[in-house]
Symmetry: C2
């Protein structure tokens, strides 16, 4: 099946995704118009995903769409912003045909419904290279209340939502480099890699509660490092309290050295944040209303002579800080 | 020269471009914060340029930066919006090194100063494909006053800014397919292709004056076709009154059949618009204050049985509508 012209592609597959955004003009204009709610400010993020770098080229189109939107909405959640809309710039290689685009747009439609956002506009072009997708997402936060990476204070608790390490092990499963103990575990882990869930309800609830926040995209160790650096503090993590799924626990039991991958690997799109100790009850309540676990995994302290940083210790006090405390693409 | 890590690249080359936008947090956060001026609404556009498709891979990095920003700001101008800021998502191929990125960022810095915008944020990733650059640009327009493609009325005048056809001939010069009569003409045409000038002052001035507007990116014939279709009208263009530069005039004299390329080719990033006849004085005044010519080239009339469309006629009334009245990438 061939590919329709740019105008037909937009009209057929993407214009329906702009319903609900009158300022998108049914994607027939040069630009879109959006007015943030009175008293709110716009929160803006942009993420680019490339086939073979950020997702597997043979991932299902609907999964790619869901992930593309999720990684952007995760950034908004980390700022405490409620998502509103997004623009999409897609560079299609020749092998992407209308069937593929239809499945992608359908998945994007489901993902935007799940997340309460609409398409504002964008651009579609051809590329001789790999599929390259950029979403710029827009949210709202009360003026002056958006979260940042720079507010952590000594004695604050350190928290993380959901479970950590699922996506990094899921990628290994999809690459054929890891065989989990059960088929269910394999499916679960792959799904967490392919279709992360942005923690929007938690993020919005954290505005006014958390002292700093970030989403776990580069890996728990690296992202806590960003919080530590942004705040000029040290973060001590009790590795045994980092929440993991049953699937990750089973993999770790079979192969304990995967702990490094779990604590250092990326793509979970959970939220890591800090909050004053007197916020504990409020954070428990937030976890309940969001229906997602939030675990207290460490403590912030003033940076010593060595400067800001992150240290993971095990139950016996031994240093288990991941060596690869940075983002490594496959 | 190798390429620095993503974090170093952002800190070294792009964070300085966010000065002047406190909500960009020096590009150290997950997202940026922006609050449109009271009474204004946000106008948002996104354009993706791919090396070898939308620019020549060996174009100077500063030219690519200037064009990337210009094509987005041109969309804002077509909506009557004053530009404020932008996000950049860059996918770098392996051959792009720090020297190239430094030159690109320097060019982007000059372009943003010329246009009064600042960098809000973005993303930089690696790609096995060609250089792929997406800018999402943000402007402001008085609430409810943004221009669209759908307001042209019968008897409105049809205008275009600047000169038409420069960029299409400039591309041919750069491809070695056209040798203009003089070196000056060649340099001028190539410059118009490589570094178009967004008509921001005209666009902002047109809010409240024009009944419909669009920027000339796909070609004058195709873009007037979009205005005609958006408004459900017919547009008659007096081809002899379409403004052309001395360089284009010289090329046309040597090769009259280039008229088709001039009227049908894209990438000029001028503004085409319609306005009621009683706006003529105001539009003359706008051209003077902006220091850019605005030519009246035609008239809007009600669509007949054949539906909306565009027709170009020469001084003798013969039909010279470009056959390729659509966008063709090279």
């Amino acid at each position: 099946m061939a590919r329709a012209s740019e105008f037909d592609t937009i009209a057929r597959y993407f214009a329906p995704l702009s319903r609900g955004a009158p300022g998108a003009f049914n994607l027939t204009n040069d630009a879109a118009v959006w007015r943030p709610t009175q008293g709110m400010e716009a929160v803006i993020t942009s993420d680019c995903l490339v086939a073979g770098v950020h997702f597997l080229a043979d991932d299902p189109p609907a999964s790619i769409a869901a992930k593309l939107l999720a990684v952007n909405l995760s950034d908004l959640a980390a700022m405490g912003a409620a998502p509103v809309g997004y623009t999409l710039a897609a560079a299609w290689p020749a092998e992407i045909d209308d069937t593929w685009i239809a499945a992608f747009a359908e998945g994007l439609g489901r993902a935007q419904e799940n997340n309460g956002v609409v398409l504002f506009g964008g651009d579609t072009v051809s590329t001789p290279g790999p599929l390259t997708l950029t979403i710029t997402a827009f949210g709202e936060a009360a003026a002056g209340r958006a979260l940042s990476r720079s507010g952590a204070e000594a004695a604050d608790d350190v928290y993380v939502s959901g479970t950590i390490g699922d996506a990094a092990l899921g990628l290994r499963v999809l690459q054929g480099r890891l065989a989990p103990p059960s088929r269910e575990a394999a499916t679960y882990l792959a799904g967490r890699y392919r279709e992360p869930t942005p923690r929007t309800r938690i993020g919005v609830g954290l505005a006014g509660l958390a002292s700093s926040a970030i989403d776990v995209s580069d890996g728990l160790a690296a992202d806590l490092g960003h919080l530590a650096a942004g705040s000029g503090k040290c973060i001590d993590v009790r590795a045994a309290e980092v929440p993991i799924s049953a699937a990750v626990a089973a993999c770790l039991e079979a192969e304990p050295e995967l702990l490094e991958v779990v604590l250092g690997g990326g793509d979970d799109y959970e939220l890591a944040f800090t909050a004053a100790p007197d916020r504990r009850d409020a954070i428990s309540h937030l976890a309940e209303t969001a229906g997602v676990g939030i675990a207290c995994i460490g403590t912030v302290r003033d940076a010593g002579d060595a400067g800001p940083g992150v240290r993971f210790t095990d139950a016996k006090g031994a240093d288990v800080t991941p060596k690869s405390a940075g983002f490594r693409h496959f």
